[in-house]
């Protein structure tokens, strides 16, 4: 069993009797010590997508799926195409890419997830390193890491980073939460 907080994009969980692939999962703190996870899920039997919200400690049965190590090859709208070591190609719809779309770049190593022999999603490593291509100048004197500012990485994705980060810096990002971790 996995809690909603532990569920990751690309995981397939059972909701009732339906297998649902998680396309997006956003964690937010609510009140007291409560938290919620907003999830976009797609029903693998009907292909219908739905936005839902769960308490962070709600528990789900996870369906263990086949995975294969692949590298990203190219984008053929609306499909992202991946290739394994034997040159087999696997296509995943843009809608099913979840937050991976923020970080995907040519030849990037990742895992494709299969359900009934069909590629349904892609999973990235928990942390990745990316170069900052634009951000406002660093704030002098603040090294706490608590003052944040927006920064753009090479894929065009923008995220809050510590104020001391500069253009050209490499940063470590948590792909589960899309959060800046540290300067790499």
């Amino acid at each position: 069993m996995k809690t909603a907080q532990e569920v990751r994009v690309g995981n397939v969980i059972l909701v009732g009797t339906e297998p649902m692939v998680v396309l997006k999962a956003d964690y937010s703190r609510s009140g007291r010590n409560g938290s919620v996870v907003k999830m976009k899920m797609k029903n693998l039997l009907t292909d219908s997508a739905q936005e839902t919200v769960y308490r962070a400690d709600d528990k789900f049965e996870q369906i263990m799926l086949d995975r294969k190590e692949v590298t990203y090859s190219y984008f053929a709208d609306p499909m992202y195409v991946f290739m394994d070591g034997e040159y087999n190609q696997y296509e995943i719809e843009a809608e099913s890419m979840g937050d991976a779309i923020n970080y995907i770049e040519d030849n990037m190593a990742c895992e494709v997830v299969f359900y009934n022999d069909k590629a349904i999603s892609v999973e990235l490593p928990n942390t990745i390193v990316r170069e900052v291509i634009y951000t406002e100048p660093a704030v002098r004197g603040d090294t706490s890491g608590k003052v944040m500012k927006p920064a753009k990485i090479n894929t065009g994705f923008e995220l809050p980073v510590a104020a001391f980060i500069e253009i050209g810096d490499k940063i470590e990002i948590d792909t589960r939460s899309n959060e800046f971790r540290k300067r790499a």
Binding site: G16, D26, G31, V36, R55, E61, V139, K146, A163
Partner: protein, 427 residues
């Protein structure tokens, strides 16, 4: 033909203080008395309810109070027929047997998780979203109170603002209020402040500022967690209801614990209200007077993010000086509040939220003069806010939403907004 009432179960798990039960009790009474639902309120700590509703009996597992059936939510939860509408307050965990009974119903009840109040943007995206049960054929819906149209709004009794206006325009009612707390009506030039708060390390600094205020200042302190610090300032180790202190231009009077019905007139009678937690914040908003919100301290200082989100909304229509004044005092008052982690993570956290890069270290006492100087603008803002917020009534929105869900399931939910507005227009 006699209408069959819609039945509603509200579950309340009291964590601490009176916020959880305060919200549930208000909602229960509104649904029962203003919208005609048969409401059963399940509370796991009846003594907290007794504080808010003295006629309730903490020893009775089942009783009726002010139109609501109140039931003790004990560990050995008896099997009961689930209601048409089931509200779990603040994501409390319903008894397993009750959930099983809901799942066994031929017609699923409308199951709502009434969440905490927040001004943060993410709430908009989660409000009214379904939460299909991971293993049972049940769907719960998250319902978020809030300050914007994209949320469920705030709890507001049907006649509250009329009563408020009547009070604020009637010297006789005001006189009666002051007499009820054993005081004469203060002189017109006296600045009247209510102070309901958690422990706060910055209180003494604020009192210092008040003692040297050019204007006489009367501070009314209902019994509560801040009281020991109030007594300490005046060298009294045993402050209690009726204690009376004076220093410089500051006069402090300690009041007995104030139950819900008497809390509103206190807020209406004062020029500025210091309030704590969710329920009191909402009441201060309805009072239409400038207020200072001490938000419930959470781990990792996440409450400061919530405070900042609300401030962004609240100060949006203010001039720069008034905006800075309110932010200065609110931040200072919250930075040093509570005994929890908030105190140790001090100002930088808020700066992180703001992205301003500037650490704020102003204390409440230092922030006070700027706040006091902006009172007339803050007063206008408070009145505007009360007017705007009144258009987004939580109980009505909740009933409308339940009706939407109920309609999908061919379940008749009485007391919707449509029916209510028809009723109002007939009066």
């Amino acid at each position: 033909m006699k209408k069959i009432k819609t039945h509603c179960d509200i579950f309340c798990n009291v964590i601490d203080n009176y916020g959880d039960i305060g919200v549930c009790w208000r909602l229960a009474r509104q649904l029962a008395n203003e919208h005609g639902l048969a409401v059963r309120l399940w509370v796991d700590d009846l003594s907290s309810l007794v504080k808010l509703c003295p006629e309730a009996d903490a020893t009775l597992a089942s009783q009726h109070c002010r139109g609501v059936e109140v039931r003790l939510w004990s560990k050995n939860f008896a099997e009961v027929q689930p209601a048409d509408v089931v509200i779990e307050a603040f994501a409390c965990v319903l008894p397993e047997s009750y959930i099983a009974a809901m799942a066994a119903q031929a017609q699923q009840p409308v199951w709502i998780n009434l969440e905490y109040l927040s001004g943060e943007d993410w709430v908009h995206g989660c409000h009214k979203l379904p939460s299909p049960h991971p293993s049972l054929p049940l769907v719960k819906y998250f319902f978020f109170p809030g300050f914007t149209r994209q949320t469920g709004g705030l709890l507001l009794e049907r006649d509250l603002l009329v009563r408020r206006d009547a009070f604020q325009n009637d010297a006789v009612q005001q006189q009666a209020f002051w007499q009820s707390i054993g005081m004469d009506m203060p002189a017109a030039e006296t600045l009247k402040i209510s102070l309901f708060g958690y422990e706060n390390a910055t209180l003494h600094g604020l009192f210092d500022a008040w003692t040297v205020s050019a204007q006489p200042l009367l501070c009314l302190v209902p019994e509560g967690r801040i009281l020991p610090q109030v007594g300490q300032y005046f060298g009294d180790n045993a402050p209690h209801a009726g204690s009376d202190y004076a220093r410089g231009n500051l006069h402090v009077r300690v009041l007995p614990f104030v139950e819900q019905e008497r809390f509103d007139p206190l807020l209406w009678a004062c020029d500025i209200n210091f309030v704590r937690g969710e329920d009191s914040c909402v009441r201060a908003l309805w009072a239409g007077r400038p207020f200072v919100w001490q938000i419930y301290p959470q781990h990792d200082a996440v409450h400061l993010k919530k405070l900042q989100a609300f401030l962004m909304l609240y100060s949006g229509q203010l001039s720069q000086s008034a905006s800075q004044a309110i932010e200065g005092l609110w931040q200072a008052w919250n930075m040093e509040s509570g005994a929890g982690p908030a105190a140790s993570t001090k100002p930088l956290v808020l700066s992180a939220v703001e992205g301003s890069g500037q650490a704020t270290s102003t204390s409440s006492g230092q922030a006070w003069p700027a706040f006091a100087a902006e009172l007339s603008e803050l007063n206008r803002c408070a009145q505007d806010w009360a007017r705007q917020l009144a258009e987004n009534n939580l109980a009505l929105n909740l009933l409308d939403f339940c009706r939407e869900i109920g309609t999908m399931r061919a379940l008749k939910i009485e007391g919707s907004k449509h029916e209510n507005s028809t009723r109002s227009s007939r009066r």
